[in-house]
Amino acid sequence: MENLITRPKVPRLVGNKLNAVKCNKCGNIRSPVRNYCNKCQGIDLSPIQIGPKGIIITFSTTYKKKEKDKKRIFGLVQLFTEDGKDSINLSGTFDTENFNDVKIGKKIELLPNEKYNVFKILED
């Protein structure tokens, strides 16, 4: 029987890049890292790193129930490998409280935060 634990001891981030694996059989990319491909079930995987650059796909704001609540802007980004050949979609929050700073298609950079996905919006 195969080992039931499928999570290699790999940190989520290396600096401001995401650790991921690419399946050498079907090309599927997954992060967080596992020791098998969830599409083709292959185990021939290559470790890759994704980020830190990406673009904003969509975004919205969190519900501010009380006046003192912080209104966060969150969304979905497409994060690329450095050569730009591969990407994954990733959700998280933006490091701004100004709604006007955020635009679909704008460039972002993943910040080194071990707990959450936080994106810095880059100037054009």
């Binding site: 967080p32 969509t58 975004f59 919205s60 704001t61 969150f74 979905l76 979609n89 959700s91 998280g92």
Partner: protein, 397 residues
Amino acid sequence: MRNVAVIGAGVSPFGRLDALLYQEIGRPPVNDAIENAGIDRKLIQSCYYGTCGGVGVGHEIMNETGLIGIPITRVVNACSSGSNAFRLAYMDIASGMSDCTIAMGIEKMKNVSMAVVGGGTRFQIEAKAYTHGSPFSIGGGGGMPAGFALMGRAHMKMFGTKREDFANIVVKSRKNATKNHKAEFQTKMTIDEVLNDVMINDPLTRSQCCPRTDGAAAVILMSEDYVKEHHIDTPIWIKASAMGSHFGGGDPNYPPGLSTDADTAKRVFKMAGVEPKDFYERGFGECHDCFSVSELVHYEDFGFCKKGEGADMINDGVVEIDGDLPINPSGGLLSVGHPLGATGTRQIAEVFWQMRKDKEVAKRQVPDEHLDIAFTHTLGQPMVGFTNVMHVFSRDL
């Protein structure tokens, strides 16, 4: 597969029913459905019921309605629980196992502690580990409105859809619900009232999010043999049933929306032998408008218009009760409310009554020429992944 018909339906009032027991909410629609079908309750051979929070509720209600003793199966599949229960009741008869079944859905939302509506469970924590890339993803923003807000904003950017377009869905929903005495909200809203309501997740204001509602609905299904044997004179036939799933992770080739909805629609229409254009000529439907964005995107997913043209359908009045393709004549989830387990069976009760021209829907009756075929659709997110269920109904066998 054998032919199966819907022959009776019952729906409780929808609203905040905290003070009532499950049996007090569920017994009346079960009895109403049996009376509506005009059958002896002893004919019912099995029960499938959808609920997320109601453990053992099916047994309780079957006991209170003199049906205990038959096989009872609980179905938990988030917002699709009721329609999933109906699908199993249909398959039970279509396979030849039973000749008469009851599908029920019930929910008291206060009791729904599963991660579907939030709650710090292990399930939710595990879900967070998976939140990479879904436009519905809970990471970062939290909750269902957030996911549909992201979808709406992407739609605005890609196709120029305006906030007013989404708000118009609510205006239509509230207008229809003024004619539905079972709906939680029965008052009209103007477009300005919708837009100026409390902001939840931009661009979704509060009234563009369905309320957390309690309620129950039940429908009786019967085989063709039994329909003939028991002289049921107004059966509505189930022409197709389809279901799909999706894990999230985004649909890079199908933004903004879920490709699984489009896939399931194609399969259910093919199984029924109809095309989207047929609904313009002779049909109508009830779709899962959990948020204003959801209904607009589903017009496109189902092939009723091209991707990006959903706003035209609401702005041109196409989806009004007297329009070319009436959608959600009941008022939909946005106004009737959304008790997770009950919504699917409530939708089926609506199309059944509409096609039968039952007095229950007299004030919101879809015109005759649109009563030949109808569809229902629910989309459930059991926190990790999505489940959609669609059915097509016909007055003719």
